[in-house]
């Protein structure tokens, strides 16, 4: 009886958003009389950073301080339509819609400023600190607040913008089946090390090394947070969690947290993360979205590592001690691949 070490690798391509066409997200941006801007969305922030990232994108496009942007989201009664926060689509879909809306609002804001400064709007630039000035002549300047107030109270102008992200339906070639189902892929590779106890069948993940290509990391702290938490969830899906352990039989399914197994803070493996930035052409400022893909590569990597450790090929998740022991017995004992 022994503990066997194994190493497994997996690489994934992950499509961002729902595809085959459509997948709309809308955004509305408008200024308020205090010179600040509201972004109205219906996309949900589940803690993944939707509000932070759309706020960054709106501030960058409008050319104003991030403190001057408020993101009002998650009320589908009052916000513009959105498909929702899923399929890792948030940053990419909503981000593009926010850029489109903020560009329109910005152009009206510059028209209002131009009227006050008596210049051409095409000659105006923003400094990102709340000022609009003539290019090359910073002294000919007006604050975004003054421009917003002039539009509101003097010019009768609405500083607002509409944005939508929509990809056209991808037609399928009836002869070849060829189509363009996906606008953007993200990519990841993961290497895990496991220890498999051939007496108990238990699998412990002891090390994770990963590389994720998510376009530009618009908010690196949030990206790492998602990757770290998602990898934990992947580890949990690989070796712990299931609602139906003997599917399709419903027997022995967990009914509460006493029976629904998940790794706790004492079951963590060190995880080294590399984020590769390769800005996406159609992404908002190059961003794609980590989303679901942060959990995905862990599962096949763990399964491959178990095969490497004891020669048992598991094809139904999760990799439970029972499945490992049955596999070892069927093989007539543990067969570490590295010994072959």
């Amino acid at each position: 009886m022994a503990v066997h070490r194994g190493r497994g690798f997996a690489a994934i391509n992950y499509p961002i958003g729902m595809n085959l066409g459509g997948d709309p997200s809308q955004a509305l941006v408008h200024s308020n009389p205090d010179g600040k801007f509201t972004v109205a969305l219906s996309a949900i922030d589940l803690g993944q950073g939707m509000k932070s990232v759309t706020r960054q994108i709106a501030a960058e496009t409008l050319g104003i301080p991030i403190d001057d942007v408020y993101v009002d989201t998650a009320d589908s009664d009052t916000g513009p339509h959105d498909m929702g926060s899923f399929a890792s689509r948030g940053t990419h879909r909503m981000g593009n819609a926010v850029i489109m809306a903020a560009q329109e609002a910005r152009s009206v804001m510059l028209e209002a400023a131009a009227e006050e400064l008596e210049v051409d709007p095409g000659d105006l630039v923003t400094d990102g600190r709340g000022n609009i000035h003539v290019r090359g002549a910073p002294s000919r300047s007006i604050t975004t607040m003054a421009a917003a107030q002039a539009a509101q109270f003097k010019q009768g102008r609405t500083i607002a913008g509409r944005g939508i992200f929509l990809i056209p339906l991808s037609e399928v070639d009836p002869e070849t089946g060829e189509m363009t189902p996906v606008s953007t892929f993200a990519h990841a590779a993961m290497l895990v090390e496991v220890e498999v106890d051939d007496e108990t069948g238990e699998v412990a993940v002891t090390d994770m090394q990963s590389a994720y290509e998510v376009g530009r990391a618009l908010n690196p702290g949030l990206v790492e947070q998602q990757l770290r938490g998602g990898a934990w969830m992947g580890m949990s899906h690989a070796a712990w969690e299931t609602t139906e352990p003997y599917y399709p039989a419903r027997d022995h399914g967990p009914v509460d947290f006493n029976h629904y197994l998940m790794p706790g803070p004492g079951d963590l493996a060190p995880h080294h993360i590399s984020v590769l930035e390769r800005p996406a052409e159609d992404g908002p400022y190059g961003g794609k979205g980590p989303g679901e893909m942060c959990a995905n590569p862990v599962l096949p990597a763990v399964v491959n590592a178990v095969y490497d450790a004891v020669g048992v090929r598991i094809d139904e998740l999760p990799v439970t001690p029972e499945k490992v022991l049955r596999g070892i017995r069927a093989n007539g004992g543990a067969r570490p691949r590295q010994a072959l």
């Binding site: 589940l46 803690g47 993944q48 702290g221 949030l222 790492e224 947070q225 998602q226 770290r228 938490g229 998602g230 990898a231 934990w232 969830m233 509460d256 947290f257 006493n258 998940m262 706790g264 803070p265 004492g266 963590l268 995880h271």
Partner: protein
Amino acid sequence: MAKKPVTVTLNGTERAGFAEPGQNLLDFLRRGLGDLSPKYGCGQGTCGACTVTIDGQTHLSCLVLAEAADGRAVGTAAGLADGARLDPLQDAFMENFAAQCGYCTPGMLVSARALLDRNPRPTRAEIVEAISGNLCRCTGYEPIIAAIEAVAEERTRP
């Protein structure tokens, strides 16, 4: 059955209310006293979202009868900040991205604060032990452990 008057010292302030028969402390704190920081997760003591301190010891408030807390000091996450001044643990949770959806966070903070109060220099193993009764679905725990370690290290500096 009659309601029972229950008085607790909640985060340093004496508060009184009437507990329904069989009402647990979590429900009494939330509906009776209006402290919404302890969360209802599972209602059976397995998730830790409702963690509070009673006389400095951590308890799962969903498993404690409200009247059993009568006359005792109850601490919740709402008592950690001093006005706008956050507890160092709360700052560390922010800096280390130790919350995503945030539902486990109040319980995590109470467990971590209780640990640091009795053991200002915990090892990683002691931190893990202290939060092992608090489930988190989002973070993978590592950022939470790092946040608690950051406060512990701060305290060990002269």
